[in-house]
Symmetry: C2
Subunit: 321 residues, 2 copies
């Protein structure tokens, strides 16, 4: 029996999962993300944590050690673009520049191989392999959080792309006439409307411009209060959620004209808005596509924030097979 680790490096914590070679997650835990200009310290923390875990062995009734020789490798999700040459380009949230992360990790952790991918892409792979996409030939995942990310999975493999941006749908231009800049420096990106922060931005604009009473005027607007108010029948909240869903549906229609997947899966904090979000986005989507491509499956993600870690393990298992 072989084992592998799936590791998801986030801005606050590093999620580490120990998986069996069939992909089953045996155990998952977290350590804090050490923020330094280079990854050595963080990789040392990971090394200590996983060697410690190996020492404790598998506790299934009787003590069963995991030998180093049984470790097949590590899959690693990182918050930045990973190009075809294996370089991680500027993980801004952590403060690294360009890093040959796989090489560094193999050297410092002392386990080979280490396969690295972008965190949103690997979350998509995780959902495809073990979550909402199980059984689908192809899937687009959309992650609606502080930003908007995504990933394309075709025939079980996640598309990484030449420059590491395949699936980076948050930065598709949806409004060529926008004059406010996105965090990325461009203007009119999907993320400016459909991320949690983007939705709040749009809501505040509408609230400032309009006089109608609304539940949204009673407390601080967040993506959650916005969708809760829409669900409670608030007219302005429904208008705002329709507007942001229109951009999201249009971006997904545009995406389907490229990758035309079987399923579209929604993850990230905003996806907690649930069925109402799916309904509004699907309606907008259907208005922007040909009749014969209207019937896509719109689904909510299932793995929550374990998706990246699970997908990292899946990437490793695919690479060594």
């Amino acid at each position: 029996m072989g084992y592998c680790f799936g590791i998801d490096i986030g801005g606050t914590t590093v999620k580490i999962g120990l998986a069996a070679e069939d992909g089953t997650l045996l155990e998952g835990w977290e350590i804090p993300t050490r923020k330094e200009p280079t990854p050595e310290g963080l990789l040392l923390d990971i090394r200590v944590s996983i060697l410690d875990r190996l020492d404790r062995g598998l506790d299934r009734g009787k003590k069963q050690k995991i030998r180093r020789a049984d470790i097949l490798g590590i899959g690693m999700a990182a918050p930045g673009a990973v190009t075809a040459d294996g370089i991680l380009h500027g993980a801004v949230n952590i403060g690294w520049g360009d890093v040959a992360l796989a090489e560094e990790a193999e050297r410092i952790i002392g386990i080979s191989p280490v396969c690295v991918g972008n965190d949103a892409r690997l979350a998509a792979l995780g959902e495809a392999a073990y979550g909402a996409g199980v059984g689908a030939r192809s899937m687009l995942m959309v992650t609606l959080g502080t930003g908007v990310g995504g990933g394309v999975v075709l025939n079980g493999k996640v598309l990484m792309g030449e420059s590491g941006v395949a699936g980076e749908i948050g930065h598709m231009t949806v409004n060529p006439f926008e004059t406010v800049r996105c965090n990325c420096g461009k203007m009119g990106c999907l993320e400016q409307y459909a991320s949690a922060t983007g939705m709040v931005r749009v809501a505040k604009q509408v609230l400032a411009k309009r006089r109608e009473d609304s539940l949204l005027r009673q407390k601080e607007v967040t993506a959650k209060t916005l969708w809760d108010a829409a669900r409670a029948g608030d007219a302005l909240a429904n208008e705002i959620t329709d507007a942001v869903s229109a951009y999201l549906g249009m971006a997904l229609a545009n995406a389907m004209y490229l990758v035309d997947t079987e399923k579209i899966v929604f993850g990230g904090g905003v996806s907690k808005a649930g069925e109402l979000l799916l309904q509004k986005v699907e309606k907008a989507y259907r208005s922007r596509v040909f009749a014969h491509s209207r019937e896509k499956e719109f689904l909510l993600a299932k793995l929550g924030n374990a998706a990246g870690m699970r997908g990292a393990a899946a990437l490793l298992l695919q690479k060594i097979r």
Copy 2:
């Protein structure tokens, strides 16, 4: 030695190519497209034409017959969406409804297998296998003609998609505020600005609104006279070509956020505008993408209108290997 046929069914002619099993085109010819509500007549015409061709054999110095047993199959490009179940949906230019074209062709022509794909997708595959995309890991092809079509080739395989619209980039929405309808019934499609007819439409709008003198006021505006005038330094023509290139560059940037290919290849009649088109579109593209994905290869297609026929043969050869 095996042989196959690559067939491209167009609105006016059917292009038929005889290829060797390594994909080399041995001979290509055309027959007129019989326009009837169902494909039987056209398939009979194809049957007659290729049986006749087989009878004549290979003329390489000495007469060398091609035996029916040496025919590996037929690849067929059709002008409509082909879904994963092999159905051709409404080839509008010819007047067919939904057709199980591969099955019909196998029955009527009497050669198996027949593999069917959308013509724009197979033109992309043709360019990838034998034209501008040779050696590339991945490629997006954009066909700028009366309409705008395209295809995505990843690791040598063309993406067909679940509903047959993968690569249908002419109908990506690039202007969510457009009020004029596209031929497809939607509004704001790339095709409304970047097809030959779209460019003429935009040019006429600008010419009607403005007073400046221009070479474009001297004769009927076509995509050719528009780009010729731009090349000659005409200010209005440059403004118009900049505007349509801005939409095209933005659509390609959006496309790269999904498929992130190594090359972008331009075919179709408008691509005869050549380097000036590539320059303008690339400039617009670069303004809409992250710094690390700016360096894409922008190339002109090489196979002209043989691309679909060659790609059809490539599809067949991939399927039987």
